[in-house]
Structure formats: C-alpha cells, structure tokens
Subunit: 270 residues, 2 copies
Amino acid sequence: MSTAVDRNAPIGVFDSGLGGLTVAHAIMQQLPGESIVYFGDTARVPYGPKSPDTVRRYSHEIAGFLLEQGVKAIVVACNTATAHALPMLEAELPVPVIGVVGPGARAAVKGTRNGHIGVIGTEGTIKSGAYVRAIHAESPNAKVTALACPLFVPLVEEGWTNHDATWVIAEEYLAPLLRDDVDTLVLGCTHYPLLKSIIGEIVGRDVRLIDSAEETAADTRRMLSDNDILGTNEQGDYRFVASDDPAQFLELGQRFFGDALEHVEIRTFG
Amino acid sequence: MSTAVDRNAPIGVFDSGLGGLTVAHAIMQQLPGESIVYFGDTARVPYGPKSPDTVRRYSHEIAGFLLEQGVKAIVVACNTATAHALPMLEAELPVPVIGVVGPGARAAVKGTRNGHIGVIGTEGTIKSGAYVRAIHAESPNAKVTALACPLFVPLVEEGWTNHDATWVIAEEYLAPLLRDDVDTLVLGCTHYPLLKSIIGEIVGRDVRLIDSAEETAADTRRMLSDNDILGTNEQGDYRFVASDDPAQFLELGQRFFGDALEHVEIRTFG
C-alpha cells in the first residue's frame, strides 16, 4: 500500500442486493471505528442464476464505483460474486479485497470433527466449485457435499422464513446432507442466515452452522491490520447505495439491519 | 407509418427473460409468415420485484436495440414491462407497439359470466394497477381480485411445475380467488401458463384461465393489419438474443419453445 492511503477512508462492501448487509452489520459490530460504503445491486439482483462472465462484469463496475468513493479496501459480501469474480478483482484493484468464501471455508475446516462438510449456496456459487476448492486448500481430505438451493433466496425475499412451503423445500434440498452425515454446514449465501432456524432443525442440532458474516468481519480486521490501514475513528460513518428504488431497499434492508438503515442513495449502471 | 417500412421486416418481441417465448411461439403459430427477433434480458431478470423507473429504463434500452435490428413493430411480451413501460414506449417509438396486458384484460372481460375476474402476476404488475385499469376500461363494473404471486417465477425456473411445495404455495396465494368467487382468471405473467394444471386444479374447473400469449398473438395480427404491414413471406426467420449466457437461455428456453430454439446470440447493456 502506498503511504498516501487514508486509514480512516471507508471500507467498500458490496452484494447483488441486500444479503450482504449481514456482513456489513458484522463489520460494524466488530470494527465500530470503520466507515462503510455499502452497495447493493438491486436493479440486477439476483446473481445466483447468472453466468460467470456477467457476474464478473457487474463486480468490475461496482468495484469501480466504490473506488470512486475513495474506499481503502473492498469486501465482496456476496458468495456468487466472490466465487466468480474474486481472483479478477484481486488482480485488478489497487486496494486490498476479500470475499466471503475463504472465511467460511476456513471456519468449516476448523469446526468439523468427522471431516464431512456441507455447503449450500446459489446455483452459481455451487457450480463454480469455489467452496470445494477453498476447503480442499485447507484440508485436502475433507469430504464436501455441495448443494444448490435456488429457491431459498426468493423465499427469504418473500419473508417466508418460517412458512410450511419453506419447510417442504428445505427438507428436499437438504436431504443429501443427512445421508452424507455432514457435521458442519456452511451457509454459503448471505440470505441463508435468515433461514437458520429451519435449516438447523432439519439437519439436526449436532450439525454446526457456519455463517460467513462473522468470519468475514474477523478476516476484514486481519486484512486491514496486515495492510496497516485499521481505522482510528471513534465511530464510523455508514452510507448505503442501491441501483434500484431506495424505498424498496429501505423496507427490505431493515429486515436485515434494523433501524440503523435510515437513508439510501441511488446509483445506476448502463 | 411511412411508406418506406418493409412489411417483411421482423417483429421485435422482448421479455425480462424467457417467459415471453410463449408469446413468440403463439405469434409463430398464428403468423407463420412473420419473422421475429426475440430479446430476453436474462442478465437483469427478473423485472417483477424491480421499480417502475428501472423497468422503464431497461425497456427503453431494449426497444432501442430492436429498432437497430430493423423491426417493423414491437411486442412487449412481459407483463411487468407492459405494466410500467407501455405508455412510454407508445409515445417514443417510431413503430407500432403492443403489450400483453390489454389483450389479456379484453379476453377476461369477454370470458366472464358473473363479472368477477381474477388476475395473478408479479409484484410489479399487480402494484402498477395496469390490469385493473385495463379491465375497467372495457367493463367499468367488473369486480377484480388482483394478487401478486412472487414465488411462481422462481418455482417455474426451478422446473418445479408439479412439486409439493408449489401446491402449498399456490394454495396460499390463490385462496382469495375462491373466497371472491371469480369465474375467470388472467395468468398475468408469461411464466404462469407452465403452472396451468396446478392453478386450474386449485381454482376449480369452472374458472376459465386466460393465457395472454394467444390473445396477444391475435392482437399482433390486428396491429400489423391496421398498419398495413402484415408480412408476405412464405416462412418467417427467427433470431433469439439474450443479455446473459446463451447456453443457459438455450437450456431453459427449450422448456418453453422446444427444438425450434437452436441458436442464441448475446447482446449486453451497460
């Protein structure tokens, strides 16, 4: 890092939509002195079913916007964007960048006792193989059962976090985890922590659930510290930016974030 | 219309994704001499939950692309885009344009015996009030029960057109139609015809289901004829264009369209 970097500049955090607010929230809790600019690409959400090239193009545009805002580091708070775009962003950005896959994978490897790890995520995240690679990088002999759960995001966005239909769908999606006897399950999509109680009940209390938000916030501290850019503010400032209607972002965002989310700016692409 | 218009130029048909292929297919069946350029905005799908301004911006960009392809008329084969953007497109385009809301509304008014009409669609379509306005324009005393069914699109895209979860969800969404005793139901989203058997079973055989694809194709013929631009080809040509990965479009598109869909071009925005 050049010495010109302002250690009290904000951290840029982005997601395809609102799910990444769980990561932003964990960073606020663990690093109260850091300022944050959060970007949610609500005009183009979801990323999960879209192609790697398209997700990389969107990630590149958003990272450019965050750099214009003067961020000192970027956290990719979206599993699909991390899976497809993190290597590209690491190569092209002049600031440090981390994603959510590595922290979740490391926590799972630490947490497992029997070496059988489950990962659930969007179609894009699972097809990319990013979690399997990240887990095997830490523990080459770990057995990984990776499952796409495409309806979980729409169910959360509908607010059906404890609905009969959600139970039926979750039981079907998660059945292979029970057969494979996993003892640790990575919630590999930032929406999924909102389904924690259903998922936990179905896979059983013996299975440890890994929510990458907390892990990613811990890694964010490490990244800032390694680069000697930990903030020294008493209290950070927060900005929220979305590509679609701010009103909708506010309404849904408060489900993740509570009243701390008071105002949303808009920034469109294309 | 200027006399310079080529009556054998293609018709432009667009949708947020693949659902509009049902409309393109109906046009192919009813107007085999017409060529079609179909555009599916798969990189930004779905439109249903997005704001009116964003849907208008996307529709404007796509209409511009279709004009560049030399289309003689445009069919908005997406209920959400029709609901938010049709008046704007009618005002700004130099070619005739129709949407799917008017044809479906007219068919419902013709079909109802008791004057109670149901409409189901995305959140954007229902919130816009476009169907209620279109129905009341034809029949001011009609009683309309309009319901958003946000999970139907993801369920169709998951291929769960006859899954237990789809039954649970459909029963909940459609319950108000039974209470209100509708005798005619507009499937106000181009994905919904794929759920026809579940929807039909739940609302009962006495309720007539209106699939706007057929009605829109009939209106397309009328529009072309009124403007004296009906094609005179023996057999039309078909082009399919998507904003995201053509491979995915092909795979899902064949669910709607069968083997007639062999090749997909790509065109991105932004």
